[in-house]
């Protein structure tokens, strides 16, 4: 028969140590999966269904609200956003109705909010970085950022339009008229 002391040591110390070691070893076994998940960074949730329409067009004027225009991206500062014509969708950037076609030496004006699915990553952009505008049913056009201008209004943007340019306009609040008026930081890029 085991002594009283030995019984207590086994039950109160040895078994708990074995339990804790087995449990820790189990944690150790699942560690690679656990650690990998911990490194996962937030990405915008992907939509199962596209809530925009792709139509073939030769002129921006043929497009209607929420028609797909194309895709803006840059490998220089890890940026990408879908662009819809005059988008009403919160998760896409919007091509302004005053835009003219790049294949007609026009000026594309893209508006977006400071959110990850729109133009947020532009704050990593520097002068000289390249941006590609991949236009649905047409070609890809590459631009280089030449200027970054803060504190612009809609009227200022109209006057910034020149041929073969892309204006990427990030809106921010005009607090004197909160919710209905905006200022813009405009990234002026010229076609390469």
């Amino acid at each position: 028969m085991k002594s009283l002391k030995l019984t207590h040591i086994i039950r109160g110390i040895v078994i708990p140590i074995i339990v804790a070691l087995v449990f820790s070893a189990a944690l150790f076994a699942v560690e690679p999966m656990f650690a990998e998940t911990m490194k996962t960074i937030y990405t915008a949730p992907s939509s199962q269904k596209n809530d925009y329409e792709r139509v073939k067009y030769n002129s921006f004027k043929e497009l209607k609200t929420d028609n797909a225009v194309g895709y803006l991206s840059s490998s220089d500062f890890k940026f990408s956003t879908n662009v819809l014509y005059s988008s009403s969708q919160a998760k896409y950037s919007s091509l302004g109705t005053l835009s003219t076609e790049p294949w007609n030496e026009g000026c594309a004006v893209v508006y977006g909010k400071y959110v990850y699915s729109q133009l947020r990553f532009l704050d990593n952009a520097n002068i000289g970085d390249s941006v590609t505008f991949d236009i649905y049913n047409h070609e890809k056009y590459t631009y280089k950022i030449k200027k970054i201008i803060n504190n612009q209004t809609e009227d200022d943007i109209k006057s910034l339009r020149t041929s073969n340019t892309l204006l990427m306009c990030v809106e921010y609040n005009d607090f004197s008229n909160l919710g209905s008026s905006y200022f813009y930081t405009v990234y002026v890029a010229e076609m390469v």
Partner: protein, 301 residues
Amino acid sequence: MGTDTASARFFCNLLAIISALLIAFSCFGLVGSGLMKSSSYIASKFIEYDEEMLRAVNAELDKECSNMPAPAGAFTSALDKEDIDNALTRAAENLVLCYDIDFSDSRDLYDSFYNGIEEYCSKNSVGISSAELNQCASLGVKVTNEVLSTGISRKTQIFQLLIGNSVAMGFVYCAAGAVVCLVLINLINKRRHKKYSYYSLAFNGAGLIYIFGALLVKFKNYVDGFTFCRSALYDAALKDAVNSIINAYIIVGIAFVVFGLIMLVYNFKYYERRKKEMNETDAINNQMKKEFLEHYNKKHR
């Protein structure tokens, strides 16, 4: 079921091991969830980085706010630590609810910029209209938001574990399960003192799971690999919070082990005393028996 049978002992040991795991799970959730759900706790961790955050905001203001009606110095002097602390407190409140952190509509920041720039301009005799002040303050909020705002990683498991209400209920069920196991051990042992040795197994087991688990996490530097959001400073503050929680688990683990050992020693002393008393009774009985036999033999010789 008898308390001294092998099957009863096996069943009690099994219940004690199960309750050790349940105690470990439930306290893991209750301690972690309590701290992570407390916005004031997260805010205190964020506020430890307020000076760095203010420096980062001012560096960005200095870079972006040139060519404005107010000089760059007006922007960089507009915010003080209190403004940043208020913003960080709001950030913590959003974070514990798993909301993205965004200050683009912050009227408080706008007012701080407006008043700060106005004060700077009047002190330095810089002429500025109210429309220009509005432009400058709006840009100040925009630039500050670029530094302070961030998306939150909802995929990060620690948040799902510690903040989600459905999972928090799981921790409550674990606690209830642990109590049921301890009650069953008590009943199987017919409320006798022996139950404390099984309780000791449960608490020592739970405590050692915490200690071994936390040390494993520390030695493997898991926390360094965590990414909660895109802001490096928020990430650093949250890693501090997680490290503090891990330290709290070690303290809880030590407390459980001490509690378990006290019960073990208490139980051991009880049975040692009982054994001693039984030995003494046996000795008295033997002595009496011996004396009786001697007396009997003398009488009948």
